[in-house]
Structure formats: C-alpha cells, structure tokens
C-alpha cells in the first residue's frame, strides 16, 4: 500500500496504461507539457512523448468524436474534457456516437474510448464548471459511467476503463484531487459496475457518489456514537448501476437515503429510488429520501455554492428522520 492523492492515482493509472499498451494515447486541452488544467496529467508527455500525450484545440466535438474515430480504427484513446460540464458541449458525440456506434452498426465495432471529465464543486468555479452531470448519461445505453470516490477506486476504475472495450465516461471529482488514501501497489483493477460498501451498518442505507460518499461516512461516524449503524454504499458509477448491492443493503436496513451533488430531478438518486421502490417496496420501513443538490444552477460564490449541495448535517437529519419510523 502507498498513500497517494486521488489526482496522483489518476496520473498513475494513465502512466501504467500508457506503459502497458502502445495503442493508448491521451489527448485534451492542456494535457501535454502543461500537465492538465488540474495537474492530473503532469509529467506524462515528458515521459511518453508528444505522440502519446498531446494537446488539442478547444474542440470538444472533435475531442470526443475524434476519440470515437480512433477507437473504431484500433486505438484506445483517453480524452479529457476539461470540465465535466462540457459533456453538454460534446453531447452528440458522447450520447449518439460513442454510446451507440457499436449497436447501430450491428455490433461490427467496439469503441474502447475513455472520456475523463472532472466534475463537482471546486470552490467558486460557477454554474458551468461545477456540475456533476452523470445523470445526463443515465439513459445512454452503450456507455459506462464511473465515479470514483477514493484514490484506490480512482486508480482501479481508470485502469479498467482504459482496458474496457466499451466507451467509459470517467467522472472524477475536482474537489477530491487532494484527497489522500491508501492505494494498492502493483496491478490494481476494479471491475466497472460493482458497488463498494464503504461502511457496513444495519439501520439505514446511504447510497452516495464521489464527494457525498465522504459526507455520508462522516454522518455515519456521528450517528454511530448514538448507536445508529449507517451503511454507506458507493455504486462507483451510474451505468451500469449495481442494483444487487443496493437492494441487498436496503433489504437489510429497510431505510434508504440517496445522495449526490447534482439536483435530484433526473439524477442517479432518482433512478436508485425508483429501482428500490419497484423491487423492494415491502422492505421499506421509512420513505426513501433523496438528499441531493438544490434544484438550482450552482452559484458562483464559493461561500454560497456549499449551500447548493448536501451537508453532513443534511444526511444526519435524513437518517434521523428515517429512523423515526419505527
């Protein structure tokens, strides 16, 4: 085990895969000598050369569509959208091309493309640079969408994404770049679509993604002191969604809280809530609660933006509310 930051774990994953497979290359804005807008690709061009790691013009349609074209013709591109919000800019390329090219062309191709997209609050980045747009991709059949919350997950999921024969949108959280954690030495792969129970508990389940996983764990710690055992399930993505793990947890606890930074409407939390309501209604001892971002654009002010996403206290309150049904 080595302790490293989330950003460093992503960098390591990229380096290991560039090293392993000559078909892997990285392109994006500022990913070259500059090392990425957030320093995540630092040193990679220096080490692997301009052929393997290079900058592109500000052309998100090309970035993703070009990645699809390269993937169709035998390469394994890793493209970086500077902010996950720019998924909207390249939506046709992601939603219609990357996701569906294989299907609509009769399965004649595979699309081994990784789209890295830094999401989440970053301290005053504003409404178009702070979003968590994974919900936009919930209906993108053909696509995988993963969301690491820890350095170890960041490493293992990215390496699996690069090796996947399917297009994977890898939404990394900008606010977690500095998060340190233990990362296994050597080859570390995490299968895509497998949830991780970050903390076991018996009384209430919190399903949370990226930054909210950590707030859920903080809430669980506080409630544990009162004898309330919170289970924290990190689906580590939204497509595919590990409904088995979520159902098993809810069947155990009878109480479900779903939490992400994005607003609830159309989000993965709503999908989880609906799925559980469909498949485990009679296990529910309390109403499902979506503890999600406010249904507003994210304010620019770094003070105010915090009020646009759920706090630890919000989660604690939700747990208490769920437990009031006895």
């Amino acid at each position: 085990m080595t302790v490293m930051t989330y950003a460093r774990a992503i960098n390591r994953a990229l380096a290991e895969e560039l090293e392993r497979d000559a078909d892997v290359f990285i392109m994006g804005q500022d990913v070259g000598a500059f090392g990425g807008a957030f320093g995540v690709t630092r040193g990679l061009q220096e080490r692997f050369g301009r052929r393997r790691v290079f900058d592109t013009p500000i052309s998100e349609n090309f970035l993703v569509g070009g990645g699809v074209g390269a993937a169709l013709t035998g390469l394994r591109p890793v493209v970086e959208l500077q902010y996950a919000d720019f998924i909207a800019v390249a939506m046709d390329e992601i939603y219609n091309k990357a996701a569906k090219w294989r299907y609509m062309h009769g399965g004649l191709f595979s699309v081994p493309l990784v789209i890295r997209a830094p999401g989440g609050l970053a301290g005053g980045a504003g409404p178009e640079h702070s979003q968590s747009p994974e919900g936009l991709l919930l209906s993108a059949a053909g696509l995988h969408v993963v969301t690491p919350s820890t350095p170890a997950d960041a490493l293992g999921l990215l390496k699996s994404a690069v090796r996947s024969s399917n297009p994977v949108v890898y939404i990394e959280h900008k606010g977690l770049y500095g998060l340190k954690g233990e990362v296994p030495d050597g080859e570390h792969l995490i299968p895509i679509g497998v949830a991780d129970v970050k903390r076991e508990g018996t009384d209430v389940t919190i399903v949370a993604w990226t930054s909210m996983v950590h707030r859920a764990l903080a809430a669980a710690e506080t409630l544990a002191a009162e004898g309330i055992q919170v289970e924290v399930v990190d689906p580590r993505g939204v497509r595919p969604l590990d409904t088995d793990t979520i159902l098993a947890s809810v069947q155990k606890t009878g109480r479900l809280i779903v939490s992400h930074e994005a607003p609830a409407p159309g989000g993965a939390a709503s999908e989880v809530a609906a799925y559980v309501a469909e498949h485990a209604l009679d296990y529910l001892a309390a109403p499902i609660q979506r503890v999600c971002g406010a249904d507003i654009p994210i304010p620019q002010s770094s003070d105010l933006e915090q009020y646009a996403i759920p706090s630890v206290d919000d989660l604690i309150r939700a747990c208490r509310s769920a437990l009031s049904y006895r």
């Binding site: 009384d203 009162e226 055992q229 155990k252 209604l281 009679d282 296990y283 001892a285 006895r326």
Partner: protein, 441 residues
C-alpha cells in the same frame, strides 16, 4: 443420517442461543440423552435426543444464536457409517429443501397484470409504511383496526409488532380482541405477554465513555435481552405509581411452624406471601389485570409471576391458576418452579401468562425497593427483608419484626384509591398470618 434441528420451544420463540454442546462430535448417544443447552428469551433448556445416533458434525457451535428450524448438527443413525462427503451432501440438500419450503405459497404472482389481494397494495385510509403493511399482512392483522400513533396517524411498525407478540403468546387469532372476564362459562383468554419492542434492525448502542479501558464486554443473552426489552418498554410506556406499606411480621415465624406441623409440608415465607397476594388479588380483582389501550382486562385466573434470580439471570416462572390450589399444593408447585428456574430447565409454558408479579429480595437483606410494573401486567409486589425494629409497647419499648412492602400499579387503568384498596388488603392478609391457619383453596 438425520439432522438435529433447533425446535420451537414455545410459541413465541424465534431464536435461541446455543450455550453448550453436551455431546462431542464422534460420540454416540441414546434417545433421551441431553445433546445441547439452548437459551431462549425466557429460559435455558436442555434439548434431548429424540433419536439415537452418533454426532457427526456440529454446524452451530456453542455461543451461537440460531433461528428456530436451523440445522444445528448432523448425526448418523445407529449402524450407519458416514463419510464426510455424504455429510456435506446431506447438509447441502437440507439447505436446498429449506430454501424451497420458505417460498411463499400465495404471494402475488409474477404476472404483474393480474390483480392481487395483497395487503401491500390496498389503498386504505390507514397510513403505514410498506414494511409495516407487509408485517401486518403476513401476520393476518387488520391495519384498519389500528389507530396510528405515529406522525399524522401513521401506524407504526412497533404497534403491529406488539400485536403480533401479544397474539402469539395469547394463542389467539387476530381479529378478536381481549375481553374482560365475567360471563360465566365463557372461555377466558390467557393474559397477554409483555409487549415486545420492535425488533430493531441492529443494536442501537448508547455512546459509552471514550478513553476508559473496558474490563470485559458481556453480550446479553436472550434472557437478559428479554429483560432489557420488557423493562424499557414498561419504563417508557407505562405511567405508574408505587404505594408503600409496612407490615408487622412478628407472627410469621410461629405461623410458619404451625403450618409446617399442621400440614406436614415445609411452608416458606414465599408461600405465605403468595397466599396473601392471591387473597388480595381476589379481593381487589382490578389489580390482577392488564390494560390494552382501550379497556382494563380483569383476569379470571390469578397467575403469579415469581421473580427468581438464576445463574442465567432474572427468570420469572409463573404459578398458574394459583386460586385452584391449596396452600400446600401451591407450595409444592412453587418449589418445583424455583428449582427448575435455578437449574435452567423451565419450559416456555412455565414462564408465560402471568397476571401479577411478586418479587422478594428479602434473602439479600434488602429492606425496600420500588418495583417496575411488568407490562402488560398491571401490578407488581415487592417485599423486603424481615427486620427487627424497636417499637413503643404499653409505654415501654418492645422489639417487633417488620417487612416493607411496595406495590406498583399501571396508572393508565388503576387509580390511587383502587391501588390503595389492593395494597391495604395485601397488608391485612400478610398480617393475618398471625391468626390461626385456615384452609386456603
């Protein structure tokens, strides 16, 4: 080959703590041999072999909790030579057959278009969470009959759970309601058991001091957990009050000796106390009762719960239909119950259906105490030690023996005056022991 299955040792038993195996793997035994000891919520019991055999493999070891019906061990039939493979096959097949047998028979089919009569989908005016509805449905409870005590009239899961427990111990089908006794010739239901707090999904531990070294952390066994649940619910749900009286016990010794010589049976203070409680309960039947949220149910029988300290913790065997026995009959039965309580061989029938409780810690020298009503029983009597006190006698000083008696009542249904009538009657009957023995019965 046959399996040893954890039996249901009483209607409400759901699980048991296997405390010890008395036969080792590989040992042979005859039918009737005690195989293992199991502790349930109420008792610790030795389970005997129903078939002769050789114990092959223990699946649920000592200090493990298992639900009723669990395959605890596998045994070979006499003369059978078992190899590990066949044992494993037996276990696998046993598990598989259990999986099949738990499949519900009349659960809504997979055909989503077909209308079902599931309680889960019934949009009644009653509000309840789905899991509560499922519990009610599975237990045959009509939610309509319940007045929700949660927010905005929500029927709580604990309400249904309490009904399930109460019904199970009373042996009644839901839909009936407990009725007050009175009509001659009508069957009178057995008293309900104490409410069972909702089975919480997990332990809800109170925060402990940090930085303090623990000597040991003792997990509560089923008996202790049961006690914990009962007193918690009594304390939080039953408003109660306590009355005190001091009785003159000077004549108890001579009364005891007189009874002994007269009846040829060893009569103890406990028997004399039970006698007084019985008489007081018959005189003031409101004290031999239970409150069911609507009515005070007066029980026909006086079933006296006797608190006994046993090695496994507090157990409360019940002297059933105390009114139907003579003093010496009661004494014999009481001794038997206490012996079994101390040796851990009470059956579940021995500990259910009490209607009034007596607790006596006199043997520990305790002078007095405030007992906690054991819901749903309305009354509990506590007696302290017999002690000598100095009293004024004819202008001089005399010594007399006294006992402090405390009686707690469920105040939801018993008022102070009614309680006082019982307490006074009890005092009177305790003091009347100085008079000549009668033939109780």
């Amino acid at each position: 080959m046959h399996g040893l299955i954890l039996p249901r040792l009483g209607q409400t038993m759901a699980e048991g703590l296997v405390t010890a195996w008395l036969v080792d793997e590989g040992s042979s035994y005859a039918a009737g041999t005690p195989l293992y000891e199991v502790e349930t919520e109420k008792v610790t019991t030795l389970v005997e072999a129903t078939l002769p055999g050789t114990l092959l493999k223990i699946l649920v070891g000592a200090d493990s909790i298992a639900v009723v019906g669990t395959l605890l061990a596998v045994a070979a039939d006499p003369g059978e030579i078992a190899i590990p493979e066949t044992t494993e096959t037996f276990i696998r097949e046993d598990n598989a057959s259990r999986m099949r047998s738990i499949e519900p028979e009349s659960w809504p089919s997979e055909d989503h278009t077909a209308p079902t009569s599931s309680a889960l989908e019934t949009p009644t005016s009653v509000r309840a969470m789905p899991r509560t509805r499922k519990l009610a449905h599975d237990s045959g409870i009509e939610l309509d009959a319940l007045l929700g005590t949660g927010t905005n009239g929500l029927v709580l899961e604990s309400q249904v759970a309490n009904l399930v427990t109460a019904s199970a111990s009373a042996g009644v089908e839901f839909g009936d309601r407990p009725v007050a006794s009175g009509g001659s010739g009508t069957a009178v239901m057995a008293p309900p058991e104490a409410p069972r707090p909702t089975r919480s999904p997990g332990p809800q531990r109170a925060p402990l001091a940090t930085g303090v070294q623990q000597r040991e952390r003792r997990l509560l066994g089923p008996i202790a957990r049961r006690m914990s649940q009962v007193v918690t619910s009594s304390w939080s749900q039953v408003p109660q009050f306590t009355q005190f009286i001091t009785v003159d016990a000077t004549a108890w010794q001579s009364r005891r000796e007189a009874l002994r010589s007269q009846l040829g049976v060893d009569i103890g203070y406990t028997d004399m106390i039970l006698d007084a409680v019985l008489k007081a309960a018959q005189e003031v039947p409101e004290a031999n009762s239970s409150f069911d949220d609507e009515a005070l149910v007066l029980w026909r029988d006086v079933n006296i719960s006797i608190a006994v300290d046993s090695p496994a913790g507090l157990v409360v065997p019940v002297l059933r239909t105390a009114q139907d026995f003579t003093l010496e009959g009661r004494a014999r039965r009481t001794r038997e119950l206490v012996d079994r309580a101390k040796s851990g061989t009470l059956t579940l029938d021995d500990v259910t259906a009490g209607t009034i409780t007596v607790s006596n810690l006199g043997m520990y020298g305790i002078e007095g105490g405030v007992p906690l009503v054991t819901a749903p029983q309305a009354t509990i009597v506590f007696l302290g030690a017999v002690r000598e006190v100095v009293v004024p006698v004819d202008g001089g000083i005399g010594i007399r023996k006294e006992v402090s008696v405390a009686v707690s009542f469920d105040h939801r249904a018993i008022d102070g005056a009614t309680g006082a009538r019982f307490t006074a009657a009890l005092g009177r009957h305790l003091e009347m022991m100085k008079m000549a023995p009668d033939h109780a019965g």
